[in-house]
């Protein structure tokens, strides 16, 4: 097992600690299932579904110094965007830009109030937590995968560009057997490594799950209140006070 991975028993212990804090902070997490279960949280989120093709985003970021070669957005995805735009009655904006090869862009952002349901499970294959989620509109329609990609926080959208399926895809929930969106865990150890290394170097405890959640949650609209970490800092500093 990688040094930066997480044992299953450790996962359940971290879940327990997170639940304690969540109850104190009234943050809404609950435990579902019995011994082998998962953490669950439901929340409402006002989302801007940005259906602009991702290469539009890249162009607007070009002045930030990013590489601006033609992006490889799958053709099929573009066709679906066009179809849904027509179906919604939106006109195609004819942004004719002589400098690039684009014939048209579909410029459409819309705001929706969505109900999100987040599940945190343990992945035996990767020895890490995994985030599953699903989202519904107020009318009860579940979000499509394309809409989910379109609602990813802008901070992370450029990374989706090359292979969105490698980031978020539709999977069968391991315990419920229902379709859920999943945030792929295969590189969890990469962004967890700095946190774990620091904890090791500084001989302090940490909640792997809480740190992990802070890194992956914001991608899909799950922000972790700072109080989780201020509480943790306070507890850590109190425990390090030596008696006279």
């Amino acid at each position: 097992m990688s040094l930066w991975a997480m044992e299953e028993s450790s996962f359940y212990h971290c879940c327990h600690l997170l639940l304690q804090q969540s109850n104190q902070l009234k943050d809404g997490w609950s435990w579902e299932g019995s011994k082998e279960g998962y953490l669950k949280k439901t929340s409402f989120r006002s989302v801007i579904i940005d259906s602009r093709p991702l290469f539009d985003l890249e162009r607007s970021c070009s002045e930030m110094g990013h590489h601006t070669s033609s992006p490889s957005v799958p053709d099929q995805w573009l066709d679906e965007k066009e179809q849904s735009a027509i179906a919604d009655g939106h006109s195609l904006n004819g942004d004719m830009n002589d400098e690039d090869d684009l014939v048209y862009t579909v410029s459409e952002t819309r705001s929706e109030l969505l109900q999100y349901e987040y599940h945190i499970l343990y992945s035996c294959s990767y020895s890490t937590p995994v985030l599953f989620f699903r989202a519904f509109t107020q009318a009860g329609r579940s979000l499509s995968l394309e809409d989910v990609w379109s609602s990813v926080h802008q901070n992370f959208r450029l990374r989706l560009q090359d292979s969105p399926l490698n980031v978020i895809s539709l999977q069968e929930h391991p315990l419920l057997g229902q379709p859920f969106f999943m945030l792929h865990p295969c590189r969890t150890d990469e962004f967890m490594r700095p946190v774990l290394q620091a904890a090791l170097d500084q001989h302090r405890s940490m909640n792997y799950l809480l740190s992990w959640l802070s890194l992956v949650g914001p991608v899909v609209g799950l922000d972790v209140p700072l109080e989780y970490y201020t509480q943790h800092c306070l507890a850590a500093s109190l425990s390090s006070i030596k008696p006279d």
């Binding site: 006002s46 801007i48 890249e58 607007s60 970021c61 002045e63 930030m64 110094g65 990013h66 590489h67 926080h153 802008q154 901070n155 992370f156 450029l158 990374r159 989706l160 560009q161 090359d162 292979s163 490698n166 980031v167 792929h184 295969c186 590189r187 990469e190 962004f191 490594r193 700095p194 946190v195 620091a198 904890a199 500084q202 940490m206 809480l210 740190s211 802070s214 890194l215 949650g217 914001p218 922000d223 972790v224 700072l226 989780y228 970490y229 201020t230 943790h232 800092c233």
Partner: protein, 117 residues
Amino acid sequence: MSDNVESPTEALREESKPQSEDSATNEEKKKIDVLLKAVGDTPIMKTKKWAVDRGRTVQSLSQFISKFLKLDASDQLFIYVNQSFAPSPDQDVGVLFDCFGSDGKLVLHYCKSQAWG
């Protein structure tokens, strides 16, 4: 609540000069001191200490660092507080300073990673 991409020409002022003689507090100035530290093999910024508007978001700061370091679009930049968690991209750095600053500055570690897929 999503943070608009700010123009890159809106500069983070570099704190290269010593503090001026006026005794205005950071709060009055509405800027906080941020110290940026690289993690792993992420490039190190030549200037590490910055005076940053309190209202600037983490995402905005992240974009600034990415641009400064000329990172590829394929690189995801992660920012860590206390090397123990990542603040939300929409979080104001001023609030982070209030909660986690010490010795008059907020220390942030940053790391580039091919984090997804």
